[in-house]
């Protein structure tokens, strides 16, 4: 049943794209592991780490697009869900260090010893087990999204006001996570991870596996999103986006629709964040900064909102440009980002993927005038 549900929503284009994502997930890690470092086919570890990061960003972009592109909820706080998933993973990784920390405390992570904690705060219990941390990666962001969405959607907060609330949420979390007495590493966050599921985080095999897992997650999210937007639910969802009050007069409980995608999207963002943290090796409060959420929205806008492929392409292009520019011309990056946003809004209202559609429409028009 679930299998049928997942397959039904996928058109050929999306299936091909999912195949491509899986290919990008399988080939580079194999080349990294199997080729000798001197070979022209060898994929260096730094490359895996970089693209692995992009894959996580792409999942975040897809999550943003699901609420913004398909339901009209412009969330400016999605990086918070990503960061919360990341923190859950970070807590698990911290507990795996055990007594190998600088202070050698078998239970308390280094920063707690440093801050004179006597015992583990209550919410850290269980995070030494992966079977506990893994569901938390989904549950923590989902519960936050459920609570926020429940109040906002029921009170019919929409548009700019909703965007402001989500932005305020991530800002509040930023301030909270900066505090040392939150018990989550304060401003330094968590780092110096050693093992994940018993494998050393830095080892080539582990890196390759994490990279593959990120691609697999993205492929899975594309399938789920495709099934959701391709169903009758999806038709209702885009109708809510386009004419919300009309849907109410048709007897739809619009809140339920919004809440479902909002929570689903937060869960996706959380998983993406959890895969991101072991690859970059650190999680700190800066992940909550409002700018991160806004950047994620930009990826979607550049790639093409309201399409499933667009956000993935947007995340890759913008982040690749960012990596290049911050290295080559660091002072230019912020201007480039701003300029990009203006350019996309003015010239590419439907993003890069929309360009393709525009091109086809023009071709069809010329064909029709030619035959007429």
């Amino acid at each position: 049943m679930i299998q049928r549900f997942l397959w039904r929503g996928l058109d050929t284009k999306l299936r091909l794209f999912i195949g491509l994502v899986l290919l990008v997930g399988i080939v580079p890690p194999l080349l990294n592991l199997l080729m000798p470092p001197g070979s022209p086919f060898y994929v260096p570890a730094w490359m895996l780490q970089l693209v692995g990061k992009y894959l996580c960003y792409a999942s975040l972009a897809l999550a943003v697009d699901l609420v913004w592109g398909y339901c009209g909820i412009l969330s400016l706080g999605h990086a918070a869900f990503f960061a919360l998933g990341g923190y859950c993973m970070g807590m698990y990784l911290m507990r795996q260090i055990g007594s190998r920390g600088v202070y050698g405390n078998p239970v308390l992570p280094d920063f707690m010893v440093f801050l004179n904690y006597k015992e583990l705060p209550w919410f850290w219990h269980g995070f030494d087990h992966f079977w506990f941390a893994a569901p938390m990666i989904v549950i923590v962001p989902s519960v936050l999204a459920l609570a926020l969405g429940w109040f906002a959607f029921r009170s019919r907060v929409t548009g700019v006001y909703l965007s402001i609330i989500t932005q305020a949420m991530t800002f509040a979390l930023l301030l909270a996570f900066f505090r040392n007495d939150m018990g989550l590493g304060g401003n330094n966050g968590m780092t110096d991870f050693k093992d994940i599921l018993g494998f050393p985080v830095q080892a080539d095999g582990t890196r390759a596996t994490l990279y593959f897992a990120s691609a697999l997650a993205l492929a899975l999210f594309l399938m789920i999103a495709g099934a959701v937007v391709g169903s009758r639910f999806g038709k209702a969802l885009t109708a809510v986006r386009d004419a919300e009050s009309r849907m109410r007069f048709l007897g739809y409980r619009v809140e339920g629709y919004k809440l479902f995608v909002f929570v689903l999207s937060a869960a996706m963002a959380g998983i993406a964040g959890a895969l991101y943290v072991p690859q970059v090796g650190i999680i700190n409060p800066s992940e909550f900064s409002p700018g991160n959420s806004i950047e994620a929205v930009l990826w979607v806008a550049v790639g093409g909102r309201g399409t499933l492929i667009g956000p993935v392409i947007g995340a890759f292009i913008v982040n690749w440009t960012k990596t290049y520019l911050t290295g080559a011309l660091p002072e230019v990056w912020l201007f480039a980002l701003g300029g990009l946003f203006v350019a996309v809004t003015l010239f590419l209202p439907r993003g890069i993927v929309g360009l393709w559609g525009q091109y086809k429409a023009r071709q069809e028009r010329t064909k029709r005038t030619a035959t007429a």
Binding site: S231, K235, D242, R246, L250
Partner: protein
């Protein structure tokens, strides 16, 4: 609003309804009765409160005073839009609002009576019965050939047709239709009247319209609204002979 709901045989019962916007009374002590199976035309000059009346009935606007009862039991002043729609009141807006990014058929599917809950729609595909019903409605509104066209590409008149089809798809007990023939040609107007009379065979209808030839073609009881209150009621000939009605329409 605190008085207990009256038991009445009328399908729609409005009594003493007042709505103020910043002190301006868009509806002023309005009372109206619509019997089951009836079709009623509402006319009145611009700003008379016709659309506001529909807003009150559908739960979009809460009245400051007065009673609004549906089917002899449901107090509409206490329910929201979705509840009221579920009770069986469907509405066509003055400005056509179809779902532009959906096909004609999908617009009708969204409106189709039945499944509304999000978790059911995640898994349910349209059933055979539902598809048959869609085909039927497409025939009634004469839009079979356009069924896979995006609604955004329809002409103004076609959008009005689609809206009427969506209303039919909801299969409500009472249809509220706001200015269905605005911007239509004479031929289209006549067909619309025929379609509404057809619909009236199995549904109660309240139509708001300015177009007198259309109201005449409907041939039903007319209520004249003016400045938020009822000015006259009766057949079209009766009310157009009423000097107060003449003054309201000509004296502006």
């Amino acid at each position: 609003m605190t008085s207990p709901v009256k038991s009445t045989s009328a399908l729609l019962y409005l009594s003493g309804v007042t709505v103020s916007f910043d002190g301006f009374k868009a509806l002023n002590n309005l009372s109206l009765l619509v019997e089951p199976g009836e079709m009623r035309a509402i006319i009145g000059p611009n700003g008379a409160g016709k659309t506001t009346m529909m807003d009150v009935i559908t739960g979009k606007t809460r009245p400051d005073e007065g009673e609004v009862v549906f089917d002899g039991q449901a107090d509409l002043t206490k329910l929201d839009e979705a509840d009221i729609a579920t009770l069986g009141i469907g509405r066509k807006f003055q400005k056509p609002t179809v779902f532009e990014n959906h096909t004609v058929r999908d617009n009708l599917l969204l409106a189709l009576a039945g499944q509304r809950s999000w978790y059911r729609l995640l898994l349910a595909a349209p059933t055979k019965a539902e598809n048959d019903r869609l085909d039927e409605i497409l025939t009634v509104i004469r839009m079979g050939p356009q069924q896979h066209m995006l609604a955004a590409r329809l002409s103004h008149g076609q959008k009005q047709w689609l809206e009427i089809g969506m209303l039919l798809a909801q299969d409500p007990k009472l249809l509220l239709v706001d200015e269905p023939v605005a911007g239509m040609t004479d031929v289209e107007t006549e067909t619309t009247a025929a379609v509404l009379r057809e619909i009236n065979k199995s549904h109660s209808v309240v139509v708001v319209e300015h177009d007198m030839s259309f109201v005449r073609a409907l041939g039903v009881k007319v209520t004249v609204l003016h400045e938020g209150s009822m000015l006259a009621e009766g057949s079209l000939d009766q009310v157009s002979a009423d000097p107060r009605v003449v003054e309201v329409y000509l004296g502006r």
